[in-house]
Symmetry: C2
Subunit: 203 residues, 2 copies
């Protein structure tokens, strides 16, 4: 029996994620079955189930990719005790959506299209609801940290709760994700010009 390398396993896993992302994007999360994903992947059922036992596990894997991309954005923003403005953080997130999520190198797909479908699925599937909620709570926490530092630097009144500011920052990014897909004329530049005019502390 040949020795299976970690690289091989990671490549196989990425193939399955790419196949499932293609099916979700074409037919929607709800209408896609594990059988459809297996067929799209060109692998055996056993090979696919070795990595993912359900659609929900696939969603978790894709969510992890999206979160790790977001973490890179925030690591860059918050390096060496920096205190970027909320407007700068929203700008970095919106540009991260376009540069990283909209053309993911692992799944070869637009993760934001998948996200919008998963939002709908979360309303009738408690397991998906929980996983999506965890992702957004984590992103909101990163946003709140930006607001906390901005407040510590004296740019927000002391009675403002950073968590609440983080909620609104995340909302601006979610609104961009949605409008970019539903209203084709929405560019990151136009959206950020509008957001920047609304938010103080921009360049």
């Amino acid at each position: 029996m040949p020795r299976v390398t970690e690289e091989y396993l990671a490549g196989r896993r990425a193939e399955i994620l790419a196949a499932s992302a293609r099916r979700f994007a074409a037919d929607g999360f709800h209408a896609t079955s594990m059988a459809g994903i297996i067929s799209e992947s060109g692998l055996s059922a056993g090979a696919v189930y070795r990595y993912f036992r359900s659609k929900e596990e696939l969603i978790s894997a894709v969510a992890e990719i999206a979160l790790s991309k977001a973490k890179e954005v925030f690591d860059g923003l918050l390096v060496d005790g920096a205190s970027p403005s909320p407007a700068e953080a929203v700008s970095a997130m919106v540009r991260g959506v376009v540069a990283r999520a909209a053309d993911d190198t692992i799944t070869k797909t637009d993760l934001t299209r998948l996200a919008v479908q998963v939002w709908g699925e979360a309303l009738s599937n408690p397991e998906v609801h929980q996983r999506v909620g965890d992702v957004y709570r984590s992103l909101r926490g990163h946003c709140a940290e930006v607001a906390r530092r901005w407040q510590a630097a004296g740019h927000l009144p002391p009675d403002v709760l950073p968590e609440q500011v983080g909620t609104a920052m995340l909302g601006l990014v979610q609104g961009f994700v949605l409008q970019r897909l539903l209203l084709e004329e929405t560019s990151a530049d136009a959206y950020l010009a509008g957001a920047t005019a609304l938010l103080p502390g921009s360049d």
Copy 2:
């Protein structure tokens, strides 16, 4: 043959909308069939098809309800040449979502749950995509009018495009709609406190 009153027709139409909204909310837009809606309504197929020939027509009818609610909000904001701040308009929209859309008196359902499902459907259904796009272009136009007046009153730099500000305002509201459903702890008060801290021109 009895004379059919307008009131009777409107009541019948609302009954069908309520039945379809219940099915969409329970099973998702994609998985709901016209047959399921007919069964839920307790009416004959002929009676239902007299009002709505497809799921897409039902979506249009629900979108009209949502738009007319939004129009009430903006009519109130912009009455007598008023120039409310973008923060005030976002606040009115967010409160309108909670007070009107989340407990619609015609369909007896939470229209925002339906909206989130329709977003996903719009990505694979061109007709739904077009109708949803029209709704958001209209809402964005209302938001842009707020920004235009706010700019005319000297509160926004002259080189800012009101349409772009309107886009970001709408994004903030869409983010609230989503977080309210996916992260239960998101209240309108908390969200608006965060948004208000970010946006100048609030009370």
